[in-house]
Every structure is written in structure tokens, then in C-alpha cells.
Symmetry: C2
Subunit: 340 residues, 2 copies
């Protein structure tokens, strides 16, 4: 820890302001700067087994280790192809995409490698769990710390798409069929020197997602997604997919003074094109680093967790400026009701 | 009304798709397409009297009439210089910037001209009102319909800045001193063929603002602002002012499928630079038109109020996708509380 060690800046810096910057940098606990990777995954076809996927994830982890990363964020439903694109009636066929254990025999190598490299990581998977005396299914992500311990679990709340067969769509989006709505709210945890939260895919378009975590002081939101370019009900917006993706993450970051690590599974998967553009977004809303391929790619940035402070204490000082009494409609009404 | 008149497209269009587009255009009730102007105002100095300002606003109204506008949106606190930049102890001195009547003798020409031109308009002013047996002061905006009737009033909820003298600032921002928090929530009204709402300046950075109106089916948010480039507590963000302005309005528009008409008072006012970039933002989040000066300037766009429909019925179908139970923290907590 370099905290409270005087800044050895002397002759390198010329004058008061620069000297002060030097002091700020050196005075900071090292643990508040995290080197983070968005580990984008290219397409995973249906025939690809979990071991092949884990091998790719391990290759990215190894690369992250070489680049000095502290934390690696993988996409939503990282272990298989994006199966909600198919309507299936046979529950056994559906459940083949789910994980009943975590870690499992298949995923253990990922946990082992990360612990050996002393890297924290986060990824999404389809979770099958016995809870409340019945089998339940969630679209889940977990955060694993540098010691290999699962320190945070999140279950996706904003499930997009539909629940019934809609064969007119080139690709269906049956998340509302295969998953229950998450029942863990948006928890945050203090780990790796910061306050971490998670969200999954469609969650990122809803400002409520970031705000609930912002109210818990979140400093970094870990967010995986699988986003088909083509949205059958509104194909005229397909060309805006990347713009909407970025806009949502940038606004969420800025309005809560938090980092957002958005990681895509992308490319042409089973004939369906999914957008990439995995991004590391600063608390200023600026995109610091972004993927340039539609394939396995590591996007790395050094993230100063204190960077959100000026927003959290200033223009977005919630205690000073928020007016919760005026927001009641947000929880009292679900759908929109327009005046007569 | 062209509704239900068959589309006279015939030979102009070649093929099925184009023909369908022609029908859609002509089949639409004319009243759902509004030609709207963001009437940006350049600086207003302290010595400028209201009559001089009203004259400038009338010139913009006349121009809007020539361009076939239905609705003109003026900035926040449009009638005077942005007085919260000064600390004043003499209440009479403060109240000189307020309006005790609306319309007043000074503003009547604006109302008269707009009615003659059959143009609706919206502007902001400092409102002094006797209410609940006492004098109260709000940062207010009103919407006036084409017949000159005030159909909507909004009082600013997110007052930025501070309440006490902070002489270390090059320019102060004493909105919390001179105004009470608005007590009308964010009302909307059906007028000019659409559902209209209003917000003022700092409101635009808070997603709650748009969402409360989105839950009332808002189709167009009329939003005036005065935004100093320089924010004394975080000067390192000054260069991001336009970016944050756009980001907030674009996200609010997209996430609620609504038009946003953002209108600045801008330029160097009493030595203080304020950003311009008045913008008309579509429900897609795209900026359709934007000011290019720091002076009086009319920014015009034809706005199809039905354009938000695909968002409201699709990806942001609130009734289908929102989970208010999960949003409770938004109203139950004001300031952020981080985990231990």
C-alpha cells in the first residue's frame, strides 16, 4: 500500500498544480485502481460443448493475466449458444443448456486458472436450482473474487422477448418462457477494493437498474449481454443497435458516477447476428475502450474507482438533490397510462 | 384532415414497399405531425429589460410562423439574465427578477403574437405566487396552446447548486436559495394532438424525470435550460458539458420513446459562458436538429408524434417489462448508502 507514503515526485514535476496531482496519485491506495477486462466472446454454435467454450474463456483469462488484469468480465449466458432463440417444448432439451451446479466439472478449470492467476471474474449462465421446494430457472451471473470464492450472485430482472411460440420471427427471443424473473434484486458487494454490482443484457436499457445500484454506492457495474442486431417487431431500428447499446450504458454510468463494463457475446451464432462493441465506460460516460472485432477479444482499461467521486459528491449528490416523493409513480405504476 | 383520403401515390412510387410507405404517410391524421422549434436565446445581460427580451422572442416567433411551426419552445428563465449566479440578501432585489402575474403587461405581446400566428409556445420564468397563505417562489415553465390559453404549468423539482453564499466560486449557482422545490410533480397534458410534458434544466440529468412522464404516456418533453460551462466544484468536467447535455436528453428520449425539445439560453452572459447546443431529440435518441450558434437561433424539425410508438409498444413496453417491486429503493432511499 502506498497510502500516506510521501509522493516521490520532486524534480519530475514543475510547479504547484502538477505537484498536487503527483501527490494525489501516490497517496491513493493501490487497491482503488483496478485493471479490468471485458472478455468478449465470439459466436458459440449449438454443437460446441462446454469444454470448448471454457478453453476459449481460459485463453482470455491467460491473456488477461499477461496484461496485469485484476478482474475479467465475460458475457451473459457465456457457456452455451444463446438458446432462447429457439422454441422448445421438451423441458429436458431446454435444461441441457442449464447448470445445476456452480462450479461444475466443466467450469472448474476456469475457477482453478483464475485463482492461480489471482484474477477475479464474472460470467453469466442459465441457473437451474431447487428453491422453495421446486425447480427454478434463472438467467444468472456470478462474481468470483481473486481467491476463487463466489462473492455475488445476480438473477436477471428485465427479461426481454416473449413466452409463447412466435414462429413468424426469423429468430425468437423466449427468455420470458425459459426463465423466471430474478428474485435477488440488484445486490452490490464490497470486493477487490470497490463496490461491485451486476446487471444482464436488457437490464442495461432501464435506468432503474443502475439507480438501484447507485443508491447502494456502486462503483462498477459488470454487465454481460447477447443482443441480436435484428429485432423482429421493429426492424427499422436494427441499424441503431450499437447506438442504443452505448447510449444506455453511457447514461447509466454518468447518472450514477459508476464504471460500466459491458461485455458481448457476438458475431453470427447459428445464423443470427449479434452485436459486439463490448465497452468499458467511465463514470463520466465516456467510452474508454471498445472491442473492434466480432470475435473473442480482450478489452482492457485501468479503472480508477475514485473517478466517480466527483459525480457522486457533485452534480449527482443523491442526498442533496434527489426528491423521492416526486418519484412515486415509478413504483406505483407498471404500464403507462396516458391522459384522456 | 387527410385521414382516410386514399394515398395519391401511383406513378411516383415503384413497388409494394414504397407504396405502403406512401399510404402510411397520407393515412395519418395531420395533427400527429407537429412542426416544432427550439427557440434558443443568446445572452441576456442584467441591464436588458424585459421589453427588449420579449422583442427578441417575438422575432423568433415570427420566424417560426414563417417556417410553419406549430409549437415554439423557449429556454428556462427566459425573461431575464440568469440571476442565481449572484448572491443577494435584499429580497426586493431578488424579486425584481420574478413575475407576479402571467401574462403580465411585459409578456402580453408574446401571448398576442402567438395567438395571432396560431402557434403554441412554452417558456420558463421565475414565479412569485401567493399560495398556502404565503409568498412562494418557483422556477416555473408554462405551455400555452394555439388559442393563447395556459394549458400546463410545471415547477422545477431538481434545483441544482447551493443555498448559501459561496464567494469562492467565480459564479455562484443559488437556485436552492431563491426557489422552492416544485410542488406540481411532472404533469402532462393532451394538447396540439399529443401528450406534452415539461422539465427544466437540471431535471434532464435525472432519469426519474423522464420516467415519471413516460408512465403518463408523454410524447414530447419541452425542456429549457441555462447551463454554465464552468462547474466550480468539478472544473475537470467542463469540457464534457455538451456531451453530458446530449447524453442525458438522448437517453431520456430513447428510454421513454418520447421527443425531447431542449432549448438553451447560451453564450457569454455577464461574463459567464453558458452552453448552447439546443437540440431536438427523436424517440430513437437521435438528434434531429441542433443549434450551431451561441445566439438567438431557431432550430426546427417536423416531429411525428407516432414515432415513439414502436418503442412504447416494443422494447419499452412498460406494462410487459417493468418490475416496480424491484425499484422500491428509488423511492425509499434518498442518498446513497454503500455496504460496509
Amino acid at each position: 500500500m502506498l497510502t500516506s507514503i510521501p509522493a516521490p515526485v520532486g524534480s519530475l514535476l514543475d510547479g504547484g498544480t502538477a505537484y498536487a496531482v503527483g501527490i494525489t496519485l501516490w497517496d491513493k491506495p493501490v487497491s482503488r485502481i483496478l485493471t479490468v477486462a471485458a472478455a468478449q466472446l465470439g459466436p458459440i454454435q449449438r454443437v460446441d460443448g462446454r469444454p470448448a467454450v471454457i478453453k476459449r474463456m481460459c485463453a482470455l483469462l491467460t491473456q488477461a493475466g499477461e496484461q496485469g488484469c485484476d478482474l475479467v468480465v465475460f458475457p451473459e449466458l457465456a457457456l452455451t449458444t444463446f438458446f432462447p432463440r429457439w422454441y422448445m417444448e421438451d423441458q429436458a432439451q431446454v435444461d441441457a443448456f442449464f447448470e445445476a451446479q456452480m462450479p461444475s466439472a466443466d467450469t472448474q478449470p476456469l475457477f482453478d486458472l483464475a485463482r492461480a492467476l489471482k484474477i477475479g471474474f464474472c460470467f453469466g449462465y442459465a441457473e437451474l436450482v431447487e428453491e422453495d421446494g421446486r425447480l427454478r430457472r434463472f438467467n444468472t451471473s456470478i462474481l468470483v473474487d481473486k481467491d476463487g470464492k463466489i462473492v455475488l450472485k445476480y438473477r436477471k430482472i428485465h427479461l426481454p422477448g416473449h413466452a409463447e411460440d412466435e414462429p413468424w420471427r426469423a429468430f425468437q427471443h423466449l427468455e420470458k418462457r425459459y426463465f423466471e424473473i430474478g428474485n435477488l434484486n440488484w445486490p452490490v458487494v464490497r470486493t477487490m477494493g470497490g463496490v461491485m454490482g451486476m446487471a444482464i443484457c436488457n437490464d442495461r436499457r432501464w435506468p432503474e437498474t443502475y439507480r438501484v445500484m447507485g443508491l447502494q454506492g456502486v462503483e462498477m457495474v459488470l454487465l454481460g449481454y447477447n443482443t441480436p442486431r435484428h429485432n423482429p417487431p421493429a426492424p427499422e431500428h436494427d441499424r441503431l443497435s450499437e447506438f442504443h447499446n452505448q447510449l444506455s450504458m453511457q447514461a447509466g454510468a454518468y447518472q450514477n458516477g459508476t464504471w460500466v463494463i459491458g461485455t458481448a457475446k457476438c458475431g453470427v451464432e447459428e445464423g443470427c447476428e449479434m452485436i459486439g462493441a463490448s465497452s468499458i465506460v467511465a463514470p463520466s460516460g465516456q467510452i474508454v475502450a471498445q472491442a473492434i472485432t466480432q470475435d473473442d477479444e480482450l478489452v482492457v482499461a485501468r479503472c480508477d474507482l475514485d473517478m466517480g467521486r466527483a459525480y457522486k459528491d457533485g452534480i449527482f449528490n443523491f442526498a442533496k438533490h434527489r426528491q423521492p416523493d416526486q418519484y412515486r409513480l415509478i413504483v406505483e405504476r407498471t404500464g403507462a397510462i396516458a391522459p384522456e
